[in-house]
Symmetry: C2
């Protein structure tokens, strides 16, 4: 089964488009856990345990684990291992390098850490993306139009009649022989999201930027989904995982996650009758 | 002292523009060392010990260490620690992410691993670069025009009258208030290197792609240096570090490194009388 198909499958099974971003800042963990790498792992495990039935995916931004020092890598591995088997794990790595290096990176992320998908920065072009694509069952989300203000600096430059990010979208469509390419499109750009969805009607879109960054859930669901109301992976990070610093933080986390999931569901039902 | 100045200083002191790329594939190490993470560290240490007086910098591509698994991060740290104090250490990380994430990444690379410089992918724009720039004494090399075939896919797209990579060069010039920005320009693009050097007469340029990838040393030195014959950091990887698999591999490595350094020196002397 292609990555696009297996993503759709888990979204239907779980009845959820929600992805929780496990990007733990040690200083914001529940007080009783402390701030050590072990505390981060415990934090992640408890979040996964209390939300595993509410999500289609978890996304881990590797920088937050690199900042933990020597133990960071094993915290990533053990977090991935704690995720229920049917749920997608996205290594938000934003890598991208020449061929022989990208091969090592793909081995690290897919072979060692066993992520079911990763994010890749497309700036270095096809041969920097190809080594990841060779893992046919895994997903490769290329950064197209990111949620941050700096997305205007290069991604929005007009190259001929099309902005650079649209060139990435069109390249992704061309390179997608294995059905395992996806795109990252920030929730802060609803108009462009709509246009991108038209260009790639069934491709998985990873959409960060609702919550803290201000993206609108309604537009994200309406514009980001495929025609059946799936294939959009809607990421929420800080507003869910840092919902409480109390000992029973998982109940607040679960409540918060459920609220977002249900809001998404409602809009999904309205718009697609799904 | 700005990073650009301190780079020039070490290049003069060491009388070398050579950077050795420590990108160890465990399967290509000298046979007696084995293939473990510990073997990689030993390999790096011996290379550094036998070439420390011949280089201005060592560059470590992080993907090669990530592929080592849990111990990779500490191998990076211990390798950086083994580099003589005056020599620049470049973390070839090619990171780039939204602000709060880039802050964690900068902390990991500069605060924890203590690299004196890193490479950053500029695709996500200014706010993804800024957190690295805040470390005023450290260098930040932005990918402009990379050495690989895929550099044509997006970097060379014309955005208005200028290719995208030139927009990066111009942005780098504008963002360089602290004198700590550099650019990555592949040795495989000599004409563009010449043009970029005109746009940024004194900015550090990290130039990979001679040796295995086929870039021409003569053109790289002539076109990549500033007017006094410095500020180009010329990276050589595989052809030096894998010069021999014998027990006394360090003599072959040293010989190979010296040959490249001297070739660079000769061209430097011809072209700049340095």
């Amino acid at each position: 089964m292609s990555f696009a198909d297996s993503l759709r499958k888990v979204q239907q099974e779980q009845n959820s488009l929600l992805c929780i971003g496990l990007d733990p800042d040690p200083d914001r963990l529940p007080t009783h856990l402390g701030t050590s790498p072990r505390a981060v792992l415990e934090f992640n495990k408890q979040i996964i345990e209390s939300t595993g039935d509410l999500v289609c995916a978890y996304k881990m931004n590797l920088a937050f684990y690199e900042a933990l020092g020597d133990e960071g890598w094993s915290v990533i591995r053990k977090t991935v291992e704690a995720v229920p088997g049917n749920v997608v794990t996205i290594g938000d790595a934003k890598r991208g390098d020449i061929g022989n290096t990208a091969e090592r990176s793909a081995l690290a992320l897919f072979g060692d850490l066993k992520f079911s998908a990763v994010t890749v920065n497309p700036y270095m072009g096809f041969d920097s993306v190809e080594p990841y694509l060779k893992y046919r069952e895994r997903g490769v989300f290329l950064l197209a139009l990111t949620s941050n203000p700096g997305s205007k600096d290069f991604q929005r430059l007009k190259a001929g009649l099309k902005p650079v990010y649209e060139r990435v979208v069109r390249a992704a469509r061309k390179w997608n022989e294995g059905g395992n390419i996806g795109l990252v499109v920030g929730a802060t750009h609803p108009r462009e999201l709509k246009r991108i969805r038209k260009l790639v009607p069934t491709m998985p879109l990873l959409i960060p930027g609702i919550g803290h960054q201000g993206g609108d859930v309604r537009q994200v669901v309406r514009y980001g989904c495929d025609r059946k109301g799936f294939s959009a992976v809607i990421n929420v990070g800080r507003s869910v995982i840092f919902a409480s610093r109390e000992k029973d933080f998982t109940s607040a986390v679960r409540r918060e996650a459920m609220m977002v999931r249900d809001e998404i569901r409602m809009i999904q039902a309205e718009a697609f009758g799904a």
